[in-house]
Amino acid sequence: MFAAQSAFTEFAGRVPERLWLALVVLVIGVIAAFLVGVINRRLLTRAGVPEAIEGTAFERTVREFNTSTVRILAQLSSYFILAVAVIVALTVAEVNYLDRFWSSVAAFLPRLFVAAVVMIVGVVVGDKAELLVAERLRGIKLPDLGVLPPLVKYSIVYVAALVALGQVGVQTLALVVLLAAYALAVVLFAALATKDLVASAAAGVFLLLRQPYVVGDEVKVAGERGIVQEVDLFVTHIEADGEDHVIPNHSVFRDGIVLIRE
């Protein structure tokens, strides 16, 4: 018993003090990593993240691997702290020959971590946006609009990838230029395509608010004479002799309205 104890003291004495310190740092690091992981998971769950991202493609994929997005994020933070602890421990232990390498890794690590988090959040938000857009469009039964939800998703993922790549120091200028060109095209096309619609809607707001004519009035607008059947935001339906004229509101506004009274 005594012999064993003396042998242990002798062994402990031989091992340099900084090694013990490094070991303590490592243990504290492991505990901290574990705690941060658990707390993060609780916080994310509390914040309603699992409900918010339910049904997204990313969440479903990770579910197949018996894990979840929240768990992956929590584990990522754990690994980050663990890695920092390992580097601190190595520094304390003065492992000199790898000094340069480790210092650059230590500087790089936080950025890698941020990049990974940005990427995961980007993918999840993209998935969620795709789901929401698809849900909104479900009422409109038009198969051609099916390209919209993936477009929204990949736009978000693309931006997230840009941010992530920027974090890890990859040159992203070309990609940013591409993004700008794409955004410009979208804005330009949207403006061109909806020019008449926006003008009609503006006129429609006036027609609905002031009601210069109402359903049942006989009017002459844009060269068509008949009975008003329907006024909505974009168009006015005017019926005459079994012909239903659908007139865009901006032309009603531009050409004026003739109210016909007997």
């Binding site: 608010l209 009601q211 359903v215 049942g216 006989e218 009975i227």
Partner: protein, 269 residues
């Protein structure tokens, strides 16, 4: 037991098509491999059937439900006159419990499908007005039974064939049937007499309208009052559909082209 099974096989023998009313997906799958044509009639196409007829109201009356299914199938050229059709439906609550054999002919054609699908107004608008009338019939106004008359579609012509009884509460408002607030508003306004005019897209154009159609030649069942006569007559003069809640017997009736098409008891929904 043998005679029962014989009877059942007699019933389904040589059927040209089978109509499944709101089947479960496993029940539907059992019919997939057969050689008779299968038509699913349900509120939603949950089973991803190729041939599907949408049921706008869960008709409690099985006859109406079957008529709607057959007329819908005829409209889509799935069955034609003279065909023998077997309907599998649920009469009591729960699963499919009835097998009914129907021969498709003129007597089945009552226009109940036309009422929803081929009206001027959109099918969802007709359905929403029906639901409104049914709810009004169930609850009444402050517990007392009320009557109501909704004229749906062709609002321009209807407005020209009617005059206001009072200030129009829906002027400069943009409420549509199906908006949650409408139930409350209509309940209050139903105290006063007159018709509600609803446009093709479901906008409530006016309340308190006194309809002035020519009532000559309108043939509605005897015993119905002025409200039904006015509703029936306006649908003859215009392309509108009239949905009438009777104050005396509490039934909801639909008129189209001057004829009574559908009769529903709100208490059964």
């Amino acid at each position: 037991m043998a005679s029962l099974t014989d009877h059942l096989s007699d019933l389904v023998e040589d059927a040209d098509a089978v109509l499944l009313f709101s089947p479960t997906s496993s029940f539907h799958d059992r019919f997939e491999d057969g050689d008779t044509e299968v038509v699913v009639v349900a509120p939603d196409n949950d089973v991803d059937a190729d041939t599907f007829v949408e049921l706008p109201l869960p008709f409690d009356n099985v006859k109406d439900r079957i008529r709607f299914g057959i007329e819908g199938s005829m409209d889509a050229d799935l069955v034609s006159e003279g065909d023998e059709v077997v309907c599998i439906a649920s009469v009591f609550d729960g699963g499919s419990d009835a097998v009914i054999r129907v021969t498709v002919d003129e007597t089945v054609h009552t226009g109940i499908y036309d009422l929803f699908v081929n009206s001027r107004a959109e099918p969802s608008v007709i359905r929403d007005v029906f639901e409104l009338a049914i709810e009004l019939g169930q609850k009444g106004q402050k517990g007392k039974p009320v009557g109501a008359l909704f004229v749906v579609g062709d609002a321009g012509k209807v407005m020209n064939k009617s005059r206001p009884l009072s200030y129009n509460p829906f002027e400069k408002s943009h409420v549509h049937v199906g908006d949650p607030i409408v139930n409350v508003m209509v309940k209050e306004f139903s105290r006063l007499d007159g018709a509600f005019v609803v446009s093709d897209s479901g906008k409530i154009v006016s309340a308190y309208r006194y309809l002035e159609p020519g009532a000559e030649g309108v043939d509605i069942p005897k015993g119905l009052g002025a409200r039904h006569m006015a509703g029936g007559a306006i649908t003859r003069d215009t392309n509108a559909t009239a949905i009438v809640l009777s104050e005396s017997d509490g039934l909801v009736r639909a008129f189209k082209a001057g004829e009574l098409v559908l009769e529903i008891d709100p208490e059964e929904y």
